[in-house]
Amino acid sequence: MAAYIVRRVKLEKMLVLENVLNRQREKQTSHKLIERLLAEHDFALRRFIRVRMNSSVDCDDVMQEVYMRLSQIEDLPAKLAGRLDTARNYLIQIASNLLIDRARRAQVRCADQHQGEYALNELIAIDEPDRQLHNKRLLHQVECALQQIRQEQRQAFLMHRIDGLSYREISDNLGVSVSTVEKHISAALLVIRNSVDTAALGSNQHG
């Protein structure tokens, strides 16, 4: 009986160990994948960051942040399986969001320095429901604008922005060329741009 218990304990220990090992292995594959992705798309990502940010930002810094963000995502390999050739689009969206966050933080800091703490507090105190209402109205405008364009143009744009598909994937799904997809997306952006004035969007950015 005692021998049985000992064996049982050993077995349980082994199982625990195996679980830990498995998790470590998963992490390793994930890190390898991230490193590979970043190495592969390094050039394109840095170009994206430069063009989006007027070269005032440190590319390496942002790349590091992209790395961090990627390593926080659980089962990345599984999520990207079968889609590795379009992973670039995914990385660019991550970088894009990081850059927007940075810009927003910088704006708050700026307001802080220029107008003193009082202004900052006021900025933070902007009524939450007010801003939501403002965004809601804008969103409604954008959605109305999207109704003005042809269905395939709208579809291509939504596939890109809601589903995060690359132009290539959209081209395969719609059975049109990549350059047609780009035309569709530009058409959608144009009606959106025309439907809202910049000031309205700008105030959203401050929020």
Binding site: R25, T29, K32, L33, A39, E40, H41, A44, R47, F48, R50, V51, R52, R69, I73, L76, A78, L80, A81, G82, R83, L84, D85, R88, N89, L91, I94, S96, L98, I100, Q132, L138, L139, V142, E143, C144, Q147, Q151, R154, Q155, L158, H160, R161, I162, D163, G164, L165, S166, D172, N173, G175, V178, I185, S186, L189, R193, V196, T198, L201, Q205
Partner: protein
């Protein structure tokens, strides 16, 4: 190209920026354009803001279906197509990977009539196309992978490389400290090889040995074709002839292929087309279950389809074999492909027992 006004130009640049394919030339073009006039810069910023704002677009049905049904792309398309002004607000957040559509279901341009649909309805269950996921166990040993008719399988290997096996393919994988060996017995495989300078990745096809370090390429070795075909998407691939005895006069025992190259090898000869990026990228669309044909004979098209089918299609009239078609086909559409063909060509599709026959109309 029509001349764009300032706003349109700014938007065209933003569209290009988010393609992820911006060239060095475009980068400097954009920079110069923005510096040209203050108005250019303003429109550029406004276009970016418009793009950013659309991150708030959100479709509740879409989210629901992807959660419940996993990869039901069709359902989403149907809802997206009928999307109306839905005002739901989500905060701008980093994009987390949502369910990834594994295959497209958008019907081809030609839409079958109702009648044809019903005639073909009973064969619809014949749609066998599917994409599966597998993983090589981390323990050492030789691992064998095989796909059934109509199956495309993505396999994650222990070293982080991924292979996509096309229909009716078979290979084995044996990793050791010194090399990563894959033996391809039959079929078509897309290799996305993780870089490991100390452990070359070697593919043995019987007649040839393909050696790489880290690259992406497609290898095709079909029973009905006498050629071994290789299309290189990225990196560099070395191909060695294992059958042909090395002649004293020959220096080139190894053939190097670069990105954009397509090569066809017979037992004795090799033909290499260089710089064919378009063709190379088309050589691997099967991974998403997509087939593109550009002015291809119906005979070849049907042969390609048959690779994925248990119920084979036969062309009865010789003349029909030479009809040319172009288009994008989604294997997941199953028999809808046939109705599309019937609607565009002067042909008749008949279902006879376990056979599907195509003849002149």
């Amino acid at each position: 190209m029509a001349k764009l006004n300032i706003r349109e130009q700014a938007i065209a640049y933003v569209t290009r920026l988010y393609s992820g394919e911006l060239t060095a030339r475009e980068e400097s073009q954009i920079r110069r354009w923005r510096e040209e006039q203050p108005e250019h810069e303003l429109e550029w910023q406004a276009a970016l803001q418009a793009y950013d704002f659309t991150a708030m677009l959100y479709h509740p049905h879409h989210k629901k279906t992807t959660k419940a049904a996993g990869h039901d792309w069709l359902t989403w398309l149907a809802t997206a197509a009928s999307v109306s002004a839905v005002g739901l607000l989500v905060l701008l957040q980093s994009i987390t990977p949502t369910a990834i559509p594994q295959s497209g279901h958008v019907p081809v341009a030609a839409v079958a009539t109702e009648q044809m649909q019903t005639a073909l309805q009973k064969t619809l269950q014949d749609n066998e196309f599917r994409i599966t996921e597998r993983q090589q166990p981390l323990t050492s040993g030789v691992w064998h992978f095989e796909t059934a008719v109509g199956e495309v399988s993505n396999i994650l290997l222990a070293d982080g490389s991924t292979l996509s096996l096309n229909t009716q393919s078979a290979l084995s994988v044996a990793f050791s400290a010194g090399q990563r060996l894959v033996t391809l017995s039959r079929g078509e495989v897309f290799f996305d090889v993780a870089k490991d300078a100390n452990r070359p990745f070697i593919i043995d096809t019987g007649e040839r040995q393909i050696k790489v370090i880290g690259t992406k390429f497609n290898v095709r070795k079909l029973p009905h074709e006498t050629l071994l075909k290789i299309a290189v998407l990225e990196g560099k691939v070395a191909v060695k002839n294992l059958v042909k005895p090395l002649q004293a006069t020959e220096v080139e025992a190894v053939q190097a292929l670069l990105a954009g190259d397509i090569a066809a090898f017979s037992e004795q000869n090799e033909v290499i087309q260089q710089n064919q990026p378009q063709q190379v990228s088309q050589a691997q669309t099967w991974r998403q279950g997509i087939m593109r044909f550009d002015n291809e004979s119906l005979d070849n098209v049907v042969q390609e389809f048959n690779r994925y089918r248990t119920r084979k299609i036969t062309i009865i009239d010789e003349q029909v074999k030479n009809y040319r078609i172009s288009g994008v086909f989604h294997l997941a559409d199953g028999e809808a492909i046939l109705s599309a063909l019937e609607a565009t060509l002067p042909i008749r599709v008949a279902v006879v027992a376990e056979q599907i026959n195509i003849s002149n109309r």
